[in-house]
Amino acid sequence: MTAPRSSDAIVVGAGIVGAACAAALARDGWRVTIVEKTFAASGTTAAGMGHLVVMDDSPEQLALTAYSERLWRELEPELDPRSELDHCGTLWIAEDERQLAALSAKHSAYTAAGINCEIVDDRALAEAEPQLRAGLLGALRVVDDSVVYPPGVALRLIELARGNGARVLEGREVIGLAPNGVQLRDGRLGAEVIINAAGAFAAGLTPGLPIVPRKGHLAITDRLPGFCRHQLVELGYLTSAHVMTSESVAFNVQPRRTGQVLVGSSRELVGWDASINRRILARMLSRATAFLPSLSRAPVVRCWTGFRPATPDSLPLIGRWEPMPGLWIAAGHEGLGITTSLATASLLADRIAGRPTAISCEPFSPMRAMAAEHV
């Protein structure tokens, strides 16, 4: 499809992925309508940590996150203070010799992908982050990784979309998708292009999408400026994120622009139960104090949960949904939706416009699960 000027596109969902898609399509000249059942940035975007990170759970994930970080650097001049962008970088921390060896492999993979990173030895690590416990062996510092406030960024992206003529319908629930249109609880909207960016709810609108809610807990401290300077992640994090076990925790801590320390992370498959699981929360926080002993004395001001839209292979669903003409999917980003929102939007806009894409879209095809089932 070539980019038809002034044709209608509907984005279902005003989370960060929907916001990014709306901004990209509006820039291409589409008349974009964002339909959001509650209010912008109210779902997973509101609950997440807000990291912009390169990850290499798979080569495809590395390509997508690396591409996305490039797009974030391009977007930076457009961001406002509300976005709370902080170029804090990430330290992937090695606890033992085996992990130390894995750091080297990670370093090679990142460097090959053009990512600015360096190995930090034990002494330099202790100097960079004095609150870390003694005896850690080293870390990989990923220089350009950053932290943002996701609702702030999503609102900014929506503002950019609006600047190109997009409109936003909040408090309007899409109850069904049809070829060239969406059914609202109170009416119908027609459009040539429809993007299902409903995050963890996307499968409800497009049955067959392999997305399940993967619950996470977060805790945030009172303001402790300078407590840590980098986003700190244990090298075992990817294992926790990768394996679709019923529950796991991993050390992942962020310094926020406010001076607060945001503490994660946990993963559970328990459906839509949003209540705080005290046992998992305790495990998650214990994991954090195993790396940052003095964090145990920090006052925690709030804890909350959220649902990552998870897919079986930990890759998002980006592309055409063949069973329904005009329908495109931008969902299933699990815990990387903030990072990969921009790449998702860019790939989708390029595909819709018939332009070549910066990286291969094939691995992200929403049809891949169906294909796998029929092998």
Partner: protein, 520 residues
């Protein structure tokens, strides 16, 4: 130097203070006005005086962001203001566990009565309170050792009853379990997990603050807040004080401030003269209260008591210098050192909401036995509706008996009905005038934790939306101050609650579960 004084260090400078004072009182007496620096860079000092507002946070002995109003001074204590140092020392204390038939949360009049009655019924009753000793806000144990008469009688009875008291203990989480209620708390940095057969929520009330220009200045206190600070050892001697707010608390606080040597310039009650007279003339039905009111009034008889008058703005530099008052048509300013201001009380319903108890019109729904909608959970005192100390004691007695499995005392139930009618009369008399909802300008800070200004919050937003977009209510007071204000000014509903219901050491959340075998 008397024996009653000890030495501590404030920003590395030695300071001699009264041994029983709180850190907040000691700092105020030392002339400190910047306890902390706000997000927008303003100096901040205590507002509520009772552990709600988190404005008095300082670093104490290497632990950052501690409430100075809830901490007693200790010899050699090191206090740092306006910075958030966290010493690189981990917590290593193991969590403590306990078990009781009846746990009473809150050690004010309702809690004391409930614990006493439950213990007298032969139950193992445990009274948990955040303060330095049982008493709560109204029966607060004073730094000078004096105790009110009614309080003394009940506290003595409590001590005889066999009830166990845990002071300086904050309950941060309640959860239904197979055998009753699981309580998570923290005391002096240590996690405590308690299993209870039944729980009585006697969490009292806090003051309602309404934002107006200048209300964030140091030396603007609550009305009960000033009383709390006075009783915690702060001195108001020689201070020029304006009291402007609403409700029956104005008179006793004016009286005790005046008695302590303060120069009370004006007491301004927002409700009309007609309302006050109507309310006062109803007092003949309870002669003791009438006598009390007359005694309070005579304690500061040289001070003007103006009805139909309210605060419009406060001004100053690093602290309060003057207050602007209005009666509608007129505005005038009074130079002063201290402003005490609050607009009635807000029930502390956080724990009830967390447990899922049914609420109606902002208060916990209870039956004749003070039982809530959740089995094994009772509620007494202000959270069931603001009713004052006498009603709180009665409800506490009923709740304590019911939680202990005793039958209801018909006499107590009858007396409760009478007191409830008085509470309704009080509500009508001191209903807030609509002008008070519009004191804040766009530039006025509404959320003091995050310095969110009134103009940043759009009326069409839901509370959650406003939180996410502006950070309003996301600070350590968890919206207790701004949420209660916005409930009143724009009709915001009460928020849902998640554990912890107040800031708590990370170690408490991390270790609290090792103590219990099964939970979710």
């Amino acid at each position: 130097m008397s024996d009653g004084r000890i030495e501590l260090f404030v920003d590395d400078v030695p300071l001699w203070v009264e041994r029983d004072a709180t850190v907040a009182a000691a700092l105020l007496d030392a002339g400190v006005t910047a306890f902390r620096t706000s997000v927008a860079g303003e100096p901040r000092a205590p507002l509520c005086g009772m552990g709600i507002c988190y404005e008095c946070r300082v670093t104490i002995d290497g632990v950052a962001q501690q409430r100075s109003c809830m901490t007693r001074v200790a010899p050699g204590m090191r206090v740092h203001t306006t910075q958030h140092r966290l010493a690189a020392v981990p917590d290593s204390v193991a969590p403590e566990t306990d078990r009781a038939d009846v746990v009473i949360v809150g050690g004010g009049p309702a809690g004391i009565a409930a614990a006493t009655r439950a213990a007298e019924s032969g139950e193992r009753a445990l009274l948990i309170d955040e303060g330095l000793g049982p008493g709560g806000q109204i029966w607060r144990p004073r730094a000078n050792g004096n105790v009110l008469h009614a309080a003394a009688r009940w506290i003595e009875r409590l001590n005889r009853s066999g009830a166990i008291t845990r002071a300086t203990t904050s309950v941060i989480d309640l959860q239904q379990s197979s055998s009753g209620i699981l309580i998570r708390a923290e005391s002096m940095g240590r996690a405590i997990v308690i299993e209870a057969g039944a729980v009585v929520l006697a969490t009292g009330a806090r003051e309602r603050f309404l934002p107006f220009p200048g209300w964030t200045l140091p030396n603007v206190f609550g009305i009960g807040g000033a009383q709390a600070l006075l009783e915690s050892g702060a001195s108001f001697r020689g201070k020029r004080i304006v009291i402007a707010g609403s409700g029956p608390l104005l008179l006793p606080v004016a009286a005790s401030l005046a008695a302590s040597g303060a120069d009370v310039k004006l007491v301004a009650e927002q409700t009309s003269r007609a309302n006050v007279i109507r309310f006062a003339s109803g007092l003949w039905r309870t002669p003791a209260r009438l006598a009390q009111a007359i005694a309070y009034r005579s304690a500061f008889r040289r001070t003007r008591y103006r009805t139909g008058t309210w605060v419009a703005a406060a001004s100053g530099d690093d602290r309060l210098r003057a207050v602007t008052l209005t009666d509608g048509p007129h505005r005038w300013s009074i130079d002063c050192d201290v402003l005490c201001t609050a607009f009635g009380l807000v029930p502390n319903t956080e724990l009830a909401i967390l447990l899922g108890c049914e609420l109606q019109d902002g208060v916990v729904v209870v039956d004749e036995r003070q039982a809530t909608s959740i089995p094994g959970v009772f509620c007494a005192g202000e959270p069931t509706g603001i009713g004052g100390v006498d009603l709180a004691v009665l409800e506490g007695e009923l709740a304590g008996l019911a939680a202990a499995g005793r039958s209801t005392d018909a006499g107590l139930v009858r007396r409760r009905r009478g007191l409830e009618r008085q509470a309704e009369a009080l509500d009508r008399a001191f209903a807030l005038r609509p002008e008070l909802a519009a004191l804040a300008t766009d530039d006025t800070i509404v959320c003091r934790c995050e310095d969110v200004r009134s103009g940043a919050v759009r009326r069409e937003w839901t509370p959650r939306q406003a939180k996410l977009y502006t950070r309003i209510g996301m600070g350590p007071c968890q919206g207790r101050i701004c949420g209660a204000a916005l409930e009143c000014t724009v009709g915001w509903p009460r928020d849902t609650k998640r554990p912890p219901i107040q800031p708590v050491r990370l170690s408490t959340l991390a270790t609290g579960n090792h103590a219990v075998s099964s939970n979710s």
